[in-house]
Amino acid sequence: MKFIKFQHLIWPAFSIAFISCSGELKEETKQQQVNIEELTKSQPEVHGTMVKEEEIMFSNPLNAEWVTTGKSIYEIKCQSCHKLTNERLVGPGWSGVTKKRTPAWLTNMITNVDMMLESDTEAQKLLELCLVRMPNQNLTREESREVIEFMRKNDGEK
């Protein structure tokens, strides 16, 4: 009788020990279900869409109002790096820039510089030359048009 009772006492203890142990073994052997490669594969930055050539039109005479606003934007947001001559400061001087670049290229560079530095070979060449990423100065499409009008004025257009 004593023996049977004793058995009853021991077995529960035995099974508890087994469970707690198997739980820990499970931790060691179970494969991680996370596919790290899947989670970390390329997360491309999104920089918006490219402005196309036909979207920006030039006309003469220059819009005097745009030239004035463009100049004041230039003074706050561009002048720190771009001179109006052909001398390079941080970035290239602006003299002749409207002859050298297309209206859409200028617009994209002003409003979407990160996209340009990623995809445009001309922009990438300039980065290699200047070694400072042109900052995104948060200009709207309209503001960039005004700045470009000011660039045209600087290039002697009327």
């Binding site: 004593k2 023996f3 004793f6 058995q7 021991i10 203890a13 035995f14 020990a17 087994f18 707690s20 142990c21 739980g23 820990e24 073994l25 499970k26 931790e27 060691e28 179970k30 991680q32 279900q33 996370v34 790290i36 989670l39 970390t40 997360q43 003074e75 706050i76 947001k77 002048q79 720190s80 790096c81 400061l89 941080v90 070694l131 400072v132 990423r133 900052p135 995104n136 100065q137 948060n138 200009l139």
Partner: protein, 655 residues
């Protein structure tokens, strides 16, 4: 028989032993975790966390922001303590934020966070925090993650029981932990505590548009210690419930003398009733107070500080229906309202049960006048009449309770180091899980609102010991994150926290991230010392003040050569960051500055004062790595003798 028994016994023991040897030996503090715990907290590189966790910094005086479930620290927001890292409290624009009636107070102890609410749910606009030591409430703007406003609380001696918020952010409630003598008679013997010391509870209104705070009224109350509180919600909206200890009104050795009675109390305050009295002109305007109110102007980036000298006080002793007392077992600490607003959970630090009070029963007891006496003239409701029930043997040292959306409460047990999950309606303990070690507060996303998101509970522990690699005598604090989506709580993550976190709130990320400000628009900058463009940069002398209007852009300052400063001058560098791109701050530091650096965000103007102490040429430079040519971003300022004949000149790029 006896031999058989012995053999079998030793056989069984050795079996158990051998099984144990097969297991990994447990290191101190190690614990069984599920195999999938790592995947539940793993946030892949470049991916975002699901929740923001706003965590009080305690004695560092700041508010920390963590991502959940990863536990990654995203930001420390300077609130009540100076931050030389970005110039908060040092720059001319920010130092007024730490002004008080005691002058400039550069440190405090931030204990509790309340996120702003609308209809009892977080709206993601502001985070409020309390300054415990020199009583203050701060409002952090969650668009900018900056301290936008701090108001000091007069007639208060330790602002612990605060800032607790009503369900539409009508009020922030702040009550005094230390009662003090107030009014015109403040120089009294400490031994006259019982006659001369008073407690106050302040209701600070919040403008629904601007967030601006102002003290609407204060309630004059007995000199007990107010500990923690919660607003009612839903059916109990219009009420506040505050835990109080030291009903003995002891003024020395509180550890013993404030623990004499079997019951202290929960004070129920009908603030809508108080509003009625206020409207009826029952408040007394008291003008023997001084308190600072500091507000950051978003357009100028400048903090303005004013000292106010008037507050409206209501005396509930003469205005019946505002205050009722609910007896509560020994030294209550946490006092938490469940999502329905029906139940008020009080945790007696020294009690063996958790009493849960019923708002409906409280209303009945008030209507039927079921009172058992009075405390300082306030009606004391009968314990049994207000009680929903007691959770029996929940654990040792119950402190704080948060809620999920399924009728369950989660209470921290400080002494037995665990979180206990229990059903509010049935008062049954459902699960318990260890924390490491001795948790204070806990947080469930939305756990203090009408609609908790649940999913996780975080324990903020007071003791760290062996959880991380040792770092000498002083350790980071330990927090643990548990999955509460199933019946059983599961430990997922252990992460260190900064300062000493007390209460915290967690909110779904998109409620904040969608509004997060990226830059200050330079066109909208109205700082009087702004330079909108390099052409506007200049240096001006006004008596012995030299004002440098300076710009920064990758990677140069204008001007970067300055002469004409003389010994005895105070130089103010007003730095405008001309960048308009996200995450391009520029720093500014100058040799020998007795304050700090300044970190200027895109489109912002910040000012560093510098008092040169010797003649010479001193370099200054940008402290925030901004571009490949960051090391070149520097300049010189020349300081001449007082009688020197050097005119003010300045330039950049002159050959």
């Amino acid at each position: 028989m006896r031999t058989t028994k012995t053999i079998l016994f030793s056989l069984t023991i050795s079996l158990i032993m051998s099984l144990h040897q097969g297991c990994k030996p447990r290191k101190p503090g190690s614990v069984l975790i599920d195999g999938d715990a790592a995947s539940k907290v793993y946030i892949a590189p470049g991916k975002y966390d699901e929740f923001y966790n706003f965590v009080s910094g305690g004695f560092n005086g700041q508010m920390s922001v963590y991502g959940l479930p990863s536990g990654r620290c995203l930001k420390i927001i300077p609130v009540f303590s100076v931050s030389p890292e970005n110039g908060y409290g040092y720059s001319e624009e920010t130092k007024q934020m730490l002004n008080t009636s005691h002058g400039f107070v550069p440190w405090d102890d931030l204990h509790h966070i309340s996120l702003s609410q609308k209809n009892g749910e977080y709206d993601g606009r502001w985070a409020f925090g309390n300054g415990n030591n020199t009583p203050r409430i701060a409002r952090v703007d969650l668009k900018t993650f900056r301290t936008a406003e701090i108001i000091e609380i007069p007639n208060t001696g330790g602002n612990h029981s605060s800032p607790f918020i009503t369900e539409n952010t009508e009020y922030i409630m702040a009550s005094t932990r230390f009662s003090v003598p107030i009014g015109n008679k403040t120089d009294v013997p400490i031994g006259t505590y019982k006659e001369n010391f008073k407690g106050t509870v302040s209701f600070i209104s919040v403008d629904p548009n601007s967030g601006r705070m102002s003290i609407a009224f204060q309630l004059l109350l007995p000199g007990v210690n107010f500990d923690l509180a919660r607003a009612g919600k839903g059916k109990s909206h219009g009420w506040f419930f505050l835990s109080c200890y030291n009903s003995e009104k002891a003024n020395t050795l509180l550890e013993v003398n404030a623990s004499q009675k079997d019951k202290d109390f929960i004070m129920a305050i009908n603030w809508k009733k108080a509003e009625e009295y206020l409207k009826a002109g029952k408040g007394e305007k008291v003008s023997n107070v001084k308190y600072a109110h500091n507000v950051l102007d978003e357009k100028t980036h400048i903090t303005h500080s004013e000292i106010l000298t008037e507050v409206t006080v209501l005396d509930p002793k003469e205005l019946p229906g505002i205050v009722y007392i609910i007896p509560c077992p020994k030294s209550p600490h946490g006092c938490d309202t469940d999502p329905t607003g029906e139940y008020i959970v009080a945790s007696g630090k020294l009690a063996a049960v958790i009493p849960v009070f019923s708002f409906t029963k409280m209303q009945q007891a008030i209507a039927n006048n079921t009172i058992e006496g009075d405390y300082d003239g306030f009606p004391v409701l009968k314990y049994e009449a207000v009680l929903h029930g007691e959770v029996q043997k929940p654990g040792l040292g119950p402190l704080h309770t948060e809620f999920d959306a399924n009728g369950n409460a989660y209470t921290t047990m400080f002494v037995s180091s665990e979180i206990v999950k229990w059903n509010i309606e049935k008062l049954e303990v459902l699960d318990r899980v260890s924390t490491y070690y001795s948790p204070g507060h806990l947080c469930i996303p939305g756990g203090d609102t009408k609609k908790p998101w649940g999913k996780y509970v975080i324990a903020y522990n007071k003791i760290t010991k062996d959880r991380y690699l040792p770092t000498g005598p002083e350790l980071a604090q330990a927090a643990q994150l548990y999955d509460i989506s199933g019946e059983k709580m599961k430990l997922l993550l252990d992460f260190p926290t900064i300062g000493e976190p007390h209460y915290a709130n967690a909110i779904p990320a998109e409620l904040i991230s969608k509004n997060s400000k990226k830059i200050y628009r330079i066109e909208e900058n109205e700082n009087p010392y702004v330079s909108k463009g390099e052409a506007k940069a200049k240096v001006e002398r006004k008596g012995n003040e030299v004002h440098v209007y300076m710009t920064s852009i990758r990677s140069h300052f204008v001007p970067d050569n300055i002469e004409g400063v003389k010994l005895g001058d105070n130089v103010y560098f007003h730095l405008t960051n001309l960048e308009q791109d996200w995450d391009v701050p520029h720093g500014f530091a100058v040799k020998g500055a007795n304050n700090a650096e300044i970190l200027t965000m895109p489109g912002e103007t910040q000012t560093l004062k510098w008092t040169p102490d010797r003649v010479g040429v001193f370099p200054f430079y940008c402290t925030d790595f901004c571009s490949a040519l960051h090391q070149e971003m520097s300049g010189y300022i020349r300081v001449s003798a007082q009688d020197a004949n050097v005119p003010i000149t300045y330039s950049t790029g002159q050959k």
